[in-house]
Subunit: 385 residues, 2 copies
Amino acid sequence: MFELLKVDSQSKARLGKLHTGHGVIDTPVFMPVGTQASVKALDPRELLEMGTQILLGNTYHLNIRPGMQIMEQAGGLHKFMNWQLPILTDSGGFQVFSLAKIRKIKPHGVEFRSHLDGSPLFLGPKEAMQIQRTLGSDIAMVFDDCPPHGCTPREAAAAVERTIRWARECREQERVPGQKVFGIVQGGCDPTLRQKCAEELVRMKFDGYAIGGVSVGEPEHEMFKAVEMAEPFLPSELPRYAMGLGTPAQLVELVARGVDMFDCVLPTRVARNGTAFTKKGTISIKAGFAKADFTPIEEDCDCFCCQRFTKAYLRHLLNVNEILGLRMLSVHNSHLYLRVMKDIRTHIEAGTFSEYRTEFIRTYVPSQKVLKARVMHSLKVEDCG
Amino acid sequence: MFELLKVDSQSKARLGKLHTGHGVIDTPVFMPVGTQASVKALDPRELLEMGTQILLGNTYHLNIRPGMQIMEQAGGLHKFMNWQLPILTDSGGFQVFSLAKIRKIKPHGVEFRSHLDGSPLFLGPKEAMQIQRTLGSDIAMVFDDCPPHGCTPREAAAAVERTIRWARECREQERVPGQKVFGIVQGGCDPTLRQKCAEELVRMKFDGYAIGGVSVGEPEHEMFKAVEMAEPFLPSELPRYAMGLGTPAQLVELVARGVDMFDCVLPTRVARNGTAFTKKGTISIKAGFAKADFTPIEEDCDCFCCQRFTKAYLRHLLNVNEILGLRMLSVHNSHLYLRVMKDIRTHIEAGTFSEYRTEFIRTYVPSQKVLKARVMHSLKVEDCG
């Protein structure tokens, strides 16, 4: 199911192939986020053209709208949204703990009220797996307890206990044929908790392992540490997925720490604010400098946007609120993420990943604004990944 | 410049070819509206795929943003927005009279305040033609006085006087090589005024003639009458353009009355409200009936949207405010307008236009809501064509 083709000699970077019922995925891979059965502002053709191999969908959101009755009638998420390649579905754990304001944790899940209309809902291991069966995703995630950054050690320990228990319940649920299920390692910044959670989950034999609780408001160095704490306890022959991360530079660093899979709302979210990602950092296309700049966002970029439009035109579109502006920035940003992952794979294969990593980090200037845009507690409901 | 290939034997419908510096246009033609250098929600590839032959741009809007300094540096509107086919630019007359709230009509134009920031602006024949030179449009429109429906006969007469005088001033301005200039016939619902305006303009020898003041809040039958009043006085060997119209059924009826060119914001505007045009009228994709309707908007439609997506999926996208929803409805609606025009041309050529017209009008159920959406005085600024 997962072929580990090569491990970098100077880092933990891995080259692999992940086989699913809807095709083979080259790893390391970036997965564009289609929370509500659509990657914001993009269409399937644009996604295929930029080299998308797998999309994300979300249990929490899709269960509320359109609901599982419609999804069943549609014949699953692939057919509903007309996407033929693999889909990974998040379990809704993250959303229940971040979006739903009024909640009550029970032994077999969480009672909460819909962020939309306040109606009472219940999501637990059984329900999350049932929904993911209906969605028919290629990779389903277990239902976990994802506490916020800064919770007490007692809360962190309880969340890990619950995550392990719920993972076992998920493991016992039925699946659709070919569906893989990934465990999620929690444990915050506590190495003992991370190790314990990882070891318990590995004992349950999942098809892959995610590192959760790493995009919940913690500073970058803690996020790297959390990944470093969990990684040694994950089986090398299975894929590892760091959830909800990150900037392009963070992705390069996480690949070097042995991570194979990523998803992040940043490329499309910041696009809607007029921010473009480049290999050297982010630039605000709305800023004055772009006013009469008749060159593309990146000269060497072969995305649909850079092949057609200048910064001056894009700035105008953003200024006058034309949808094409945020569409094209979403195209460019998502394309950049996929291109960085492709470059990473090429360099791991060629044995030059360390040089690539050094050069990338040297030239990439991180933006505090963008780093903050990823923080959980600033999320608007409609933006959630 | 304009080849009149055929006139229908049972109506005034005409088949023609309009030659411009950026290519030949088959008429009757529908021109998608790109007011601010972008057809709302659509990209150039989508426009080309649906058979767009010519786009509209707007003097009033583009002069405010991005402004003529940027446009000059860009090398004109074609290059600025990366559109290689013909562009027709409206003169800004309609917008000055509909958008700019505080205005003072002067002998050589209109003093007004920007709808955006209230800054003082002046637009007259000289300025409008200067801006259209900078835009480098293939077809420029004269700067006219477009009074609202329901103005007094005195106001209507004054507007016609002014329109004629300003048309003469426009006629005397310089053009970019190959640029054609169309006169605009005003006169409201007064046959004497319409005739007078038409005759005076024809004497000035423009490259084509538009019928203006027909999308200013008047009921449908008055709109048809206004076109019928002006048409007999327009030279048959030149193209005729009915400005700002209309529904698909109105387009069929206006072709039958001898009109060759159309533009309208309806297809993209109603798309953003979740309304889809079909050959039988409009349907609200947000309505309950579409909830579990897993067929495309129109079974026999070959647009990008109908080839990929079901009504159930589109309804979901619209319900959860995903941009792809309004994008795809904009694609379908614009495609439908262009397809109707193509069908019209095919039927004129085959000599079966009258049968087509009868059948189209018989099966097309007009929607009052959509008819009202076109009314000038309900326009929101950001929506203006």
